[in-house]
């Protein structure tokens, strides 16, 4: 029993991580209407910047703040320089391909200067807390807190602020929103900043739990996309729930499936969703063809 509880703890952490990435993906899916393949490498960059920030300032928190700012700026730059001109009503291929290009660009600049060596954050050594056989590291508690806070903050912006309301209006019906005169720019600035923040925190979280390598973010793309689809395209809150669920399912099925096939689970769930309920658990049905 405690074995499964420990797995569940791992699963919750993994799930929150996927949820952060899925939220970034889902926001872009909903408002800008394309799957953003650069999300993974934004996360990677967040982790690297975080490590660099910690090395330079000695403080992990400073590293996190630096990373978040840097990735948010990069995300905004990607919109201003690339995606702004490519997002069109009916074609999503162009921004999708460009996002692949941007992902490659980010990763290659990183590896050009930093190489492929594995880096890691400096964490204070602390004893795990034990609750009846379940081991929890103190750093994990902080991770949960930060992840939940970030998710809550982003969702709060989306659902409780005027700019978030406008963002959701654009997501629901872009033509109508444009016709009704909603100012696109502040919404887009908010959107891409939020995407950057989620990616940065997600990347740092991943780096704290594992190690910092160039492929780390790209490897999280599939679970993030699967969660976004499972939660319902156009439903960021659904993507978060789906992400957490996916993390739990992946962890709890490790004894059955083995560690290497964990990503296969995301794939299987994705396929199952597309077969049984393409609009996702919480999405709206698309018009009939």
């Amino acid at each position: 029993m405690t074995f499964y509880l420990n797995l569940a703890v791992t699963g919750l952490l993994q799930g929150l991580l996927i949820a952060l990435a899925a939220l970034a993906v889902s926001l872009c899916f909903a408002v800008a209407r394309f799957p953003n393949a650069a999300t993974g490498d934004l996360m990677t960059l967040g982790a690297y910047t975080g490590v660099a920030g910690q090395r330079v300032t000695g403080s992990l928190i400073a590293g996190v703040v630096l990373a978040t700012a840097a990735v948010a700026l990069l995300s905004l730059a990607s919109y201003a320089l690339v995606f702004r001109r490519l997002i069109r009503a009916r074609s999503l291929v162009a921004p999708l391909i460009a996002s692949i290009g941007f992902a490659f660009l980010l990763r290659s600049v990183l590896t050009f200067f930093v190489g492929f060596d594995q880096l890691s954050f400096r964490l204070p050594i602390a004893r795990s807390l034990v609750f009846g056989g379940v081991r929890i590291r103190p750093s994990d508690l902080w991770l949960v807190a930060v992840a939940v806070a970030t998710l809550a903050a982003v969702l709060a912006v989306l659902f409780l602020t005027p700019v978030g309301r406008r963002m959701r209006a654009i997501a629901d019906n872009p033509e109508l929103a444009r016709a009704s005169g909603i100012h696109i720019r502040p919404v887009m600035i908010t959107l891409w900043t939020l995407i950057g923040v989620c990616s940065a925190i997600g990347g740092i979280m991943l780096g704290l739990r594992t190690v910092v390598v160039p492929e780390m973010g790209w490897n999280l793309l599939l679970p993030a996309f699967a969660a976004a689809v499972l939660g319902g395209v156009g439903n960021p809150a659904g993507a978060v729930l789906a992400g957490v669920a996916l993390g739990l399912i992946e962890a709890l099925s490790t004894p059955l499936v083995g560690f290497t096939y964990q990503t296969a689970i995301a794939f299987v769930l994705l396929i199952a969703t597309l077969v049984l309920r393409p609009q996702g658990l919480f999405g709206q049905a698309e018009p009939v063809r």
Partner: protein, 293 residues
């Protein structure tokens, strides 16, 4: 020198086959296939494993094509009635799963150790002639495929797939169902990609999972976009450009000694990323394409 040109020609020809397949799927039908390397790997490993068991060359190639097509069928059935981007995500994931399976199922694929000693056809011939013969085989395949593509594209079938690419939602109003057309194109393209994989395996005589990474998929995407998606010559032109680019960067390394291997790999990736961005922004029709206002 001749040996080098033969090598470049053979690998370039294989890229051309991959680009022709992707051009049919994306350029002419609008399918976003991000799983090219997955079908490439299935073709390569199927052919290699059969060959190691003593299977004749033609059988190996045929099996590669058939197996790749078989794997593409359920993916197509599920995704092609849905939004375009779902196919992209699913095929990307599929390619990763293929690679994971290849790495994990060592009893079948020897995992990361790879499969060495894949028999080459024309083994009886002297080495120089054998290389030329293989190059001839690959180029002949490219020519036959290109001719087949031309015939297909100019046929009523080709008319319908281009209609689907241009405006899929208008097609049902004509009494025709886009999904069945898309499925045929997807599977045919997958089979072709499988054949390319088989030719690749028999040429290199050694395959391992490291050779089947997502980057290869996007090399081919770059080739198709640069050459001109939806243009018959575009795939071949793009493959030629890709080959020049890859070989060119290899030479560059010799000229600039202070750049390490790792940095050269990074530069390559950066150029590919940049080209993908720049082409989608400023030249989406490719170098051979026509722009419609």
């Amino acid at each position: 020198m001749l040996g080098y040109l033969e090598a470049v020609g053979t690998v370039g020809g294989i890229y051309a086959l991959l680009a022709l397949a992707l051009n049919l799927q994306y350029g002419f039908t609008g399918l976003i296939n991000f799983g090219v390397v997955g079908f490439f790997a299935i073709g390569a490993y199927t052919s290699a494993l059969l060959a190691m068991q003593g299977g004749p060359f033609l059988l190996d190639i045929a099996a590669a094509a058939i197996l790749a097509a078989i794997f593409s069928w359920p993916l197509g059935l599920i995704c092609l009635r849905l939004r375009d981007d779902y196919l992209a995500i699913v095929t990307l994931a599929f390619a990763e799963i293929v690679r994971t399976v290849i790495v994990s199922e060592e009893w079948l694929t020897s995992g990361t150790r790879g499969i060495p000693g894949i028999p080459r056809p024309f083994a009886g011939l002297p080495a120089g002639t054998a290389a030329v013969a293989y190059l001839g085989l690959v180029l002949a395949t490219v020519v036959v495929t290109a001719v087949l593509m031309r015939y297909l594209v100019h046929s009523p079938f080709g008319r319908m797939i281009q209609a689907i690419r241009d405006d899929e939602d208008a097609v049902p109003a004509l009494g025709k169902n886009p999904a069945s057309f898309k499925l045929v194109v997807f599977s045919f393209g997958a089979a072709l990609t499988g054949i390319a994989g088989a030719l690749y395996a028999h040429y290199l005589t050694y395959i391992s999972p490291d050779q089947f990474v997502p980057l290869l998929t996007f090399y081919i995407w770059m080739a198709v976009i640069m050459g001109g998606a939806g243009r018959l010559g575009g795939a071949i032109a793009g493959a030629a450009l890709l080959t020049v680019f890859l070989e060119g960067t290899r030479f560059l390394r010799d000229l600039i000694p202070f750049v390490s291997e790792v940095q050269m790999a990074s530069l390559r990736l950066a150029v590919i990323g940049l080209l993908l961005i720049l082409f989608t922004l400023y030249c989406p029709q490719g170098l051979l394409g026509r722009r419609i206002a």
